[in-house]
């Protein structure tokens, strides 16, 4: 993460677009597996897994839900494993669900890395060109507000429970209490937004010209990083639209992934791990003790 942060925000953003786009828009089980493996390794290597057991359980639950629910909803596929009532539960739909689960979990993990590398100030700096300035405000505030709202919702629920107003005996009462919590959260969020907007205005946001403390000239490293990301994404796109990279799930499984495409995408996904390993080696060779 340390070395990913060393790149300019734009370069890091292009990398994440290439990786996340490659994972989402190409439904290849092999590429999604590669993305998932390196997403897990990247999150671990960058020290972002604060509660490994709890997080693994969460991602496994999400993956299992997507995998096993897909055949319940989608009945396509020729290999019927069993029937739920009159609906067939097919192997192909199960594989498609698994493929989507891999995409879902890897995208969640890549986004964790994304938010750790591209903090709101860096996104702000990246997007603060005349055309994007409003988008930058919305984006950075959203990034900050999601955890803020999560924390606030927890506070509201806890406060209402302890005040005697969130502890209904029936499901209907609890549902009503939850709705009240939600309305309270919405009102508080609007008020907090107004306070933040005032604070931004008071400190000269939108004055021109502005500068960015993290901005430094584009280095050769940035150029190479962007070039590698774009090249890998372009080659993957080429393979997909030339028909050499495809995956068909229904009625029966059929997929093709050129080895070079897998290697390129794998190399791209591996970059954060390589950067972390390089950082680790540099640290060890410096003779410093942990």
């Amino acid at each position: 993460m340390r070395t990913l942060r060393a790149f300019r925000p734009g370069a890091a953003c292009i990398f994440f677009i290439a990786v996340i786009g490659g994972t989402v828009f190409v439904a290849s089980p092999l590429l999604r597996l590669i993305s998932l493996v390196f997403a897990v390794l990247s999150v671990v290597c960058c020290g972002l897994a604060k509660h490994p057991l709890r997080e693994t359980l969460f991602y496994l639950t999400a993956a299992a839900a997507v995998t096993f629910l897909n055949p319940v909803i989608v009945t396509y596929g020729s290999t019927v494993l069993f029937r739920l009532g009159k609906r067939p539960y097919t192997f192909e739909a199960l594989v498609y669900g698994c493929c989507n689960a891999m995409a879902l979990v890897s995208v969640m993990l890549w986004f964790r890395l994304f938010t750790a590398v591209l903090t709101s100030d860096r996104i702000n700096a990246m997007l603060r060109r005349p055309v994007f300035s409003s988008a930058a405000s919305v984006f950075t505030l959203t990034l900050r507000y999601v955890p803020e709202m999560k924390r606030r919702y927890y506070d509201i629920r806890q406060a209402r429970k302890m005040s005697g107003y969130g502890s209904g005996d029936t499901y209907i009462m609890r549902l009503k209490a939850a709705l009240g919590d939600f309305f309270s959260l919405t009102a508080a969020s609007l008020e907090l937004s107004a306070v933040t907007a005032d604070s931004m205005k008071a400190r000269g946001y939108m004055l021109k010209p502005h500068s960015f403390v993290g901005e430094r000239p584009v280095s050769a490293g940035d150029v190479i990083f962007i070039a590698v990301s774009l090249a890998a994404a372009a080659y993957e796109g080429y393979c997909k639209y030339s028909g050499s990279l495809y995956a068909v799930f229904y009625p029966s499984l059929s997929q093709k992934c050129p080895p070079l495409c897998a290697v390129c995408f794998g190399a791209l996904c591996m970059l954060p791990v390589i950067f972390s390993a390089k950082e680790e080696l540099k640290w060890r060779s410096s003779g410093q003790r942990r």
Partner: protein, 549 residues
Amino acid sequence: MEIVRTEALSFAYPEGGFTLSGADFSLLSGELLLVCGASGCGKSTLLKLLKPELSPAGSRAGSITLFGSDISQLEERSSAADIGYVGQFPGGGAVTEDVISELAFLPQNLGLPKGEILRRIAETSAYFGLEKLMRRPLCELSAGQKRLVDLAAVMVGRPRLLLLDEPTAQLDPRSAEVFLDLLDKLRRELGTAVIVCEHNFEAVFGRCDKVLFLEKGAQKFLLTPSEAAAALRGSVMETALPASYRLSAALGLDRAFATNNEAAAYLEQNFIPDPPSAAEDTPPKGSPAVQLENVGFRYEKHSPDLISGLDMTAYFGEITAVCGANGAGKSTLLKLIAGGLRTTEGRVMIDGKRQSTYRGGTLYRELLAMLPSDPHLLFSEQTVMLDLARDPDGGKRSRQEIYAVTDSLGLDRGLLERYSFDLSGGELQRSALAKLMLLHPRILLLDEPEKGLDPAAKKRLGGLLKDFTAGGGAVIFVTHDLTFAAEYADRGVMLFGGSAAASGTPESLFSENSLYTTPAALIARRVFPRSVTPAALIERCLKERRVTQ
């Protein structure tokens, strides 16, 4: 150099109602102006009128001159850099995620070169002692640290005028002192002019150059602190004055004591000290309401214990105050009692039964209710009345039932028809308290209930709590206001290192502490050590003087 001058400044909101009128004052560089008055008197409005970006919509008359020219002539860039505004809630105006980004925000907006930004961040962080916090997320900082970051984030623009809205409201006494010492340093060394709005102005009063007092939107006076103390004599605002000022006034002295130490020396010279005596413990007035036995708690599995080995008992018929520094675990303690958090060790007994045996919300049915430190958390409807009308079982309460409670809390019926975010701090606090009282609890847990209250509201709250306990109820409140604790609590507990470092009656608790204590106790400790509130100290001095005469 004159930094700000207002002449016949008045302001009215478009919807009518409140108006500010006749504000006339000026401030030189390095001066500190204290703006005080009751809740809703227009302090915050006045402050915002001086910051063009925050100026409220409405009609303004009179003039505001900033740095020698009319406010309308002030350039946007100059307004952003030269006028620093820090709002009421620590960290409330934070825009970014970590400390360094927050400090970089203003200079980046000013378009300063990178080298200049880094230099300003470096020197500001060193000046404020924030070096070790620079990469920390803002949400992980204590209230005191957030306050310093708020100030540093505007000081990095090198403002000539600082506007602070209740800067010490949520800080413990020590953090408040640190913050105010830093302000003094800024004024002395950089010549920054400072305007502070405060309800609880005891800590600021002795440091300011001028006091501007507002009453219902009108400027009542602009005086030096000594003159202001004399002008406030006999009013309810007098209780907010520093103990040393109140004492000198009560003793009829020509000059107010400049410091607590000077007042203490005067007492030593003029009164015969009480003989040393052991602190007396008073017997409980009722049965135990809340008992904590060897309670421990930590937020994360591998984090250190925030509370450990805590034993404490609060009784029916009594008010128990819990004091301690920011981050000592006071609010956590209340949440443990209220069942919002679970203990990792020990047990909590409520009204003689283990807390865990209360099931399905029975703990909250006419037994226990907690007021959170942010009362907004309890409101979700469009008006306060709609919120109060809804009972937790889904039924509706009658207006008569609601008015019976709100009238007893001194809440104007008109306020009940307003949106909770439109109420002042004191009004909101009382509305939230009304919501709890409608449940007829026997045990009230209050997290900083005096926060944001003016002296009159504080006195009313203290009276209400006394009435509640006189009726057999139990109150446990957490506070940073040691004088409020000393005045109204029957027992006090001081949390330190996760356990009760000291406990007892306020007289014994505060007379035995020599640093973390009330200003009155600091003055009285060598002569009348059991007098820990200004009222008790003044009464004792007057009584002894009559005896010697």
